[in-house]
Symmetry: C2
Subunit: 285 residues, 2 copies
């Protein structure tokens, strides 16, 4: 809390988005700075769900007679950094699966070609989505087949680059793959043929990553979805029709209607000629 | 033209959506009624593309000194009955394919179950779409499997019911199917294994039907799309995820990306919990 930059805060009112902390971390407790500055009124947008804060900041201020109003902007503060709240509440990163298909649901043609099912506008939008995530998760198959860098490629972008996460199977990743220069985290199966998505998320959460984007391929995306390790879906629907089966966006078999997973569609937008459908996975199912 | 209902139209100005006709059909020419009423000014929203009219109505009025202004509402008049303009221009009905799938593009689960991938709101919306069509086209497989009536079932609906059209294959349609009570038009293949969609449309157009809705199954919808016999697509995307392959909405194989059909997405709307994407098929492709 940069109260030191203000000439005098004596008897002042302070507005903060997130609850001031009451513990020593990288910096001394914010509550001390507030009290020693003589601030008498504080508006707190939202409580900090971090277990080291979680109301103790507000409590400390009130104990010293500060008039504290709390939570009038909880939704807005949450929306500003949903990953933070999710991570501090669950210990796991907020996971978004990104997919792109033709209107009739094909991720690629039978021969593997898919350039370009979605438009430059939609691909740019997906780059923005990537920039909002701490890590990007892909399967080794994608690394072997496409040799992607998985960097954010937006004009004039100078923000952080998401760390690559590779879900490895039994195949080796060739040592010439570009991604290996970007310090990827590689998960390999233990005593099974597949990596457990929940274990991946637990480890990423412990490393402090608050947001993760699953970019494919179909097996990795399906594994995460089936393991209930996904919070949000962003689906780009290209203005194309395949008229027949190509390659699917998600692998596996949809056996019977009762197996369907319920979604809540939260946003639908036209992105250039295409459509972006955003959804969250219903937890009650 | 019900000019007879007005006390006097002498020296009056007339506003009409569609160009007055100049020929005898069910009724005498509208132009005669206008001229004999002494109307001196006429605003015509749009020219009638019917080859028996097509400007001759306007010509006739102008020849007798009537001041005619034409076409200031062409788009609105067109939008009010696109099937009429399409039919009078091409001789064919305006064809809409309706489909419904999960967000990940599955029309049903592997075991055939699909109730209910879309919501009551979306199904009601599809009923409204059905009510806007002169005929509903389905394959014999749908008749055999589901025994549908294909009527409009909207509360308090008393409008016309679309005539059922059945694309028959080699299998017989059991005589107890309900649809047989609704005077269906049945097309059977001649000298081939499949009915040619263009022949179907030509015949429906000759019968005067201006709008047709293809409701499936996957083979019939694909046949119409591949034959370039479709003008518009209405796709209902249910708020469900299959996470794997079930039954497709369209049959056939998407061999390579160059085979994709370009669409123009004209409207995207949330219908209850679901999404409706409307598109037209790009003619240049």
């Amino acid at each position: 809390l940069a109260i030191g930059n203000v000439p005098s805060a004596y008897n002042a009112t302070l507005f903060v988005s997130l609850e001031p902390c009451n513990h020593h971390a990288h910096t001394p407790p914010c509550t001390e700075a507030i009290l020693s500055a003589g601030i008498t009124r504080v508006f707190v947008g939202a409580l900090d769900p971090d277990e080291r804060v979680a109301g103790s900041g507000v409590e400390r201020l009130r104990a010293d007679g500060v008039d504290v109003t709390v939570g009038m902007l909880s939704d807005e503060v949450f929306a500003n950094d949903p990953g933070y709240f999710h991570h501090r509440t669950t210990g796991l990163p907020l996971v978004t699966v990104k997919l792109a298909t033709t209107l009739d649901g094909q991720a690629a043609a039978r021969d593997g070609t898919s350039q370009w099912i979605t438009s430059p506008e939609a691909r740019m939008d997906a780059q923005e989505l990537r920039s909002e995530n701490d890590v990007v998760i892909v399967g080794a198959g994608t690394i072997i087949a496409d040799d992607p860098l998985l960097t954010v490629r937006l004009p004039h972008y100078e923000g952080p680059q998401p760390r690559p996460v590779i879900i490895a199977g039994s195949r080796d990743i060739p040592s010439d793959r570009k991604i290996l220069q970007r310090d990827p985290i590689i998960y390999r199966p233990h005593n099974s043929t597949r990596v457990d998505p929940i274990h991946v998320l637990e480890d990423l959460g412990e490393r402090g990553y608050t947001t993760a984007m699953v970019e494919g391929g179909p097996a990795v995306a399906s594994d995460f979805l089936r393991a209930k390790a996904v919070d949000r879906i962003v689906w780009y629907v290209g203005a194309k029709l395949a008229i027949g089966g190509g390659l699917p966006a998600l692998s596996g078999v949809f056996e019977t209607i009762g197996d369907a997973t319920n979604l809540t569609i939260t946003d639908v937008e036209q992105i250039g000629p295409d459509v972006r459908i955003s959804a969250i996975i219903d937890r009650e199912h």
